[in-house]
Symmetry: C2
Subunit: 249 residues, 2 copies
């Protein structure tokens, strides 16, 4: 069980093979067993396997091949739509049109997503998260007919793996674990934490390809630039507002 | 493996028994194997077992007994502090002082948290998430010496269970799963989805205790009121700003 978690690697190449209905149902059921704030279950999972709709999703997810290849795309949403409708039908006024409620619903959606990811892997399926979901939330909303009070927050590509990549390197535990309180980092500690990663042959290859001086510059100058981050921050904020989560009066 | 997920229930009463170091280490290691955006690992986990610090955390987490009882409290943080320090030491300027970066780091933290939760349960440990983390983020920052560019987003209480509660009821799958696109709800569908939950003896008991007309009103009028949500929305926003994630210039 823990072995499934310890052996996780993201899969970016998939076989054409469909996912059996019974397997997919069990994986989705596992998603619904995750903890959820006050048992409100303020999230939803959109299961897309239709080729035409998947092609539209591929377009907005930066045309990553795996979105076309994988048989199923799961879009996880922070969702107060169903809950609010229920409240209104029960003669009471829902007060969930604010940022905290959006963030609470995001937590629900993300815990469900990780349950789905692990359940899928325990069935021999592969998964990959798409970080492009928050960048392109406005376009995904249009493609998937997503109503007000619902926001897509992450996506899982899921299917049978057609590759067997190595485990991804991770920082040593002291890079992310703090005991009792937060123990801040000095230069020596940062160097020690990043030493192994910076010495990997794959890192040196990446630096060569990207023509930067070091690995950090690949992140700041190529992959996640300040300019892009600010652009996508603003567009995601617009989505949060438009979907009805910024009423603070 | 999937059985661990399907059998999840939150535990609110804990034995005095400590968690063995080897078990805790494996559980934390499992946390670090979750997917993370661009393998940046922009999260941290603060492991608190010191009684005096736990007492302070108990105070801010609405004095829930389990925070004192459980041997270990894990505070999961969205964390760009370490990553930014690394960038600066590598002569490059990090552009992660914006909302998108905070949200990205939140996703990292929450996927790691759910890995930890499942790994813990597979070792016979019990867990409970504390939603009070976002409400009280400013106070938790003070207690745990959390620096700029870091925000606590959720907390797991973890220890050996001293109760064996029933599985929590969940809505039928059609309450959260949509096929192909989002299929919005009409009155009939909402009634069908909530029928079983509303008919539970435990629900009827709750309504009696809370002196409301129905279950929805317990949420809107007692547990998660509009007034509280707006209050905590504003304070969480202040934290996001103060910790350095609202620079959109």
């Amino acid at each position: 069980m823990i072995q499934t978690i310890l052996n996780h690697r993201s899969i970016r190449k998939y076989k054409e093979k469909e996912i059996e209905k019974q397997v997919l149902d069990e994986v989705l059921l596992a998603g619904t067993k995750a903890s959820t704030t006050g048992n409100m279950q303020v999230y939803s999972i959109i299961v897309t396997s239709d080729k035409a709709i998947k092609d539209q999703l591929w377009e907005v997810h930066f045309k990553q091949d795996m979105v076309k290849q994988a048989p199923v795309i799961l879009t996880f949403c922070a969702d107060f739509n169903r809950f609010n409708k229920w409240c209104e039908l029960r003669d009471t006024s829902p007060g969930y049109d604010n940022f905290l409620s959006f963030y609470t619903a995001s937590i629900d959606a993300l815990l469900a997503a990780q349950n789905v990811a692990i359940a899928a892997e325990s069935h021999g399926l592969g998964i990959c998260y798409l970080g492009t979901t928050t960048y392109m939330a406005d376009k995904i909303i249009n493609i998937l007919d997503i109503p007000e009070n619902v926001i897509p927050v992450t996506t899982l590509v899921i299917g049978y793996p057609d590759e067997n990549p190595d485990l991804t390197d991770r920082l040593p535990l002291e890079g992310v674990i703090h005991y009792e309180k937060y123990n801040d980092f000095n230069e020596q500690k940062i160097n020690k934490i990043y030493e192994e990663k910076e010495e990997l042959p794959s890192t040196k290859e990446l630096i060569k390809i990207n023509q930067t001086e070091n690995l950090a510059q690949i992140f700041t100058e190529k992959r996640y630039t300040k300019k892009d981050n600010i652009h996508f921050s603003k567009s995601f904020f617009d989505v949060i507002t438009k979907q009805g989560f910024m009423n603070h009066e």
